[in-house]
């Protein structure tokens, strides 16, 4: 307000009034243009350009042929991770909202956030040691008598990826969900409880439908994260198939092959765009329903 007021009185022209704001935002816009929009455009364009500068779909075909299995593996790991993230964060956020044992709610509130603050690269290293054959996971199961030592096996495959992604992302989605659940009107829950509904039923039939949008946003942001993290698949998975991120890095660092890497990148854009599209359609349908 302060700056526009000094510019406005003498020249009330629409452009003069917008000038201060534009000048202040311009440097940041230029930076995002150079560091984001330009690389984004290049990543899409170079997936379709051949050595002579003409249009080609050869890179896409090579990428699909060489890395089709990795793409499927990525989709499988991403969907499994999202399913696990959804179940765990609904359970934790639900307990934080409806839990009847105060000390347990307080303890859980303190506990669940920790992985949020731990960098992915460190999470990758902890998983690499924790889930290995002689890792603490197996050792503690064996010591507690829950598992036979001969049964111990390394979890450093798709299971390790799913567990690590969930470990990192559950606190994030729970944080969003618990916030949304806290702002849901308590009176309907109290009413349902008085009518004899169990806590689990309250969670699934009353709380969950009201926070579905928040849950989906959290899951889509988690999907973007899963499709972006390079360190975890590189540290957990040796050999094939692996996540597309690791294959893109492999293509660039070992072959200097940017076009095929960009074609793979395009696949990862499309996968996230599909998820975002599904989310938009769902919210639109919901809005139309509520307008009726």
């Amino acid at each position: 307000m302060t700056l526009s007021r000094t510019a406005a009185p003498k020249a009330p022209g629409p452009f003069r009034a917008l000038l201060p704001g534009l000048m202040l935002v311009a440097p940041a816009l230029l930076a995002i243009g150079f560091l984001y929009v330009l690389p984004l455009v290049r990543s899409v364009v170079f997936a379709f350009v051949d050595a002579e500068g003409g249009f080609t779909t050869a890179h896409l075909r090579v990428a699909a042929e060489l890395y089709g299995r990795d793409v499927l593996f990525t989709i499988f790991v991403a969907l499994s991770s999202l399913a696990l993230i959804a179940v765990l964060s609904i359970a934790i956020a639900g307990y934080l909202t409806l839990g009847a044992t105060p000390w347990a709610v307080a303890a859980l509130r303190w506990l669940y956030r920790w992985p949020l603050f731990i960098p992915f690269i460190v999470a990758g290293q902890t998983a690499r040691s924790f889930l290995a054959r002689n890792g603490l996971f197996n050792s503690l199961l064996i010591d507690s008598g829950l598992m036979d030592p001969a049964m111990a096996q390394s979890l450093l495959d798709w299971r390790g990826l799913v567990l690590t992604f969930a470990w990192k992302q559950v606190p994030f989605v729970t944080l969003l969900l618990a916030g949304a659940m806290a702002s849901v009107d308590r009176s309907t829950i109290e009413a349902a409880r008085n009518m004899g509904a169990g806590r689990l039923r309250c969670l699934i039939q009353i709380l969950l439908p009201q926070v579905r949008g928040t849950l989906l946003v959290g899951l889509i942001l988690s999907l973007v994260t899963i499709m972006s993290v390079l360190s975890v698949p590189m540290m957990l998975i040796a050999g094939n198939p692996t996540m597309m991120t690791a294959m893109m890095a492999h293509r660039v660092t070992y072959y200097g092959d940017y076009p095929v890497a960009n074609a793979l990148g395009l696949f990862s854009y499309i996968l996230t765009a599909l998820a975002a599209f599904a989310y938009l359609r769902m919210t639109m349908a919901q809005r139309r329903e509520s307008e009726r």
Binding site: T2, R5, P27, A28, Y36, L40, A127, L136, G265
Partner: protein, 278 residues
């Protein structure tokens, strides 16, 4: 002395506490188990395959990591230096932009906000790959400036969001009172607006700092092999099978993250948080 009735009452309530206790125990195992394994590796002198726990503990590897001419100090200084530069660059760009987005008339404001949101909405790996390609042509690969630039991409996004929210939360009536009393616009900004937005801006700086300290992918494509930050050092140690060195580096990386996050709630107030992304 407890009466029989009170005793049976407590006994009846016990199962009600047993299930939550079991659940909390499981959660604690899931959260701290992996971190405990990290601690074991950091102090393990010898730990070979069939052994379920280290056979010898000690500080040998700590000495090795912190030897005067070992790479750890260089990586630590490089990380901190890059992170501070990233904070400076991001905030210099984000503070004016955040003020304009929160307070001034802007054409296509929602489009500009969306532009600052996009980098979080799509996978970032292809972006980093293409930044590295561009930087290669400009001679920026393997330079500190190149790494600072690539760290500033996520940094700028966080900084603009939080700065916009912080400026939007400033009480306008105080500014108007200052103007009515004869203060100029710049004085009003410095003495009224900035102090009120300051905690939010500090929170933004902390986020940018942490993000830069932990950043791996951008550094991997733009900085290596010339520039080694702590995450790169940790990654190389881990891939080379030096689990002790990787674990010690990981613990060092945890200090700023956990430390700052314990104090972040003091800087990021709820009224600012509720305005992020608007």
């Amino acid at each position: 002395m407890t009466t029989p009735a009170a005793f049976t009452g407590a006994l009846r309530r016990l199962p009600g506490h047993l299930l939550p206790a079991l659940m909390i125990g499981l959660c604690a195992f899931a959260v701290f188990g992996p971190l405990g394994n990290l601690l074991l590796w950091a102090f393990a002198e010898k730990w070979f395959f069939p052994a379920r726990y280290p056979t010898e503990y000690g500080f040998d590897f700590w000495h090795r990591v912190f030897r005067p001419r070992a790479g750890a100090w260089d990586s630590l200084f490089a990380s901190v230096w890059i992170a501070l530069s990233t904070v400076l660059l991001s905030m210099v760009l984000a503070v004016p932009a955040g003020y304009a987005l929160a307070r001034l008339a802007l054409p296509l404001r929602s489009v500009i906000m969306l532009l600052f949101l996009l980098p979080q909405a799509f996978p970032s790996l292809p972006i980093f790959v293409n930044i590295a390609r561009m930087f290669y042509g400009m001679g920026l690969n393997g330079t500190y400036f190149g790494v600072v630039l690539v760290h500033s991409l996520p940094g700028l996004v966080y900084a603009v969001w939080i700065a916009t929210a912080a400026f939007a939360a400033v009480d306008r009536s105080m500014e108007e009172a200052a103007r009515n009393l004869g203060a100029g616009p710049l004085w009003t900004f410095r003495d009224i607006t900035l102090p009120q937005a300051f905690p939010g801006l500090v929170a933004a700086s902390i986020f940018v700092f942490l993000d830069s300290i932990d950043e791996f992918t951008g550094t991997f494509f733009v900085g290596t092999p010339d520039i080694s930050t702590l995450p790169i050092l940790m990654f190389n140690a881990s891939m080379g099978g030096n689990y002790q060195i990787a674990a010690i580096t990981a613990l060092i990386l945890l200090i700023p993250s956990v430390g700052f996050m314990l104090v972040i709630e003091r800087f990021l107030k709820a009224d600012v948080l509720s305005r992020i992304g608007r």
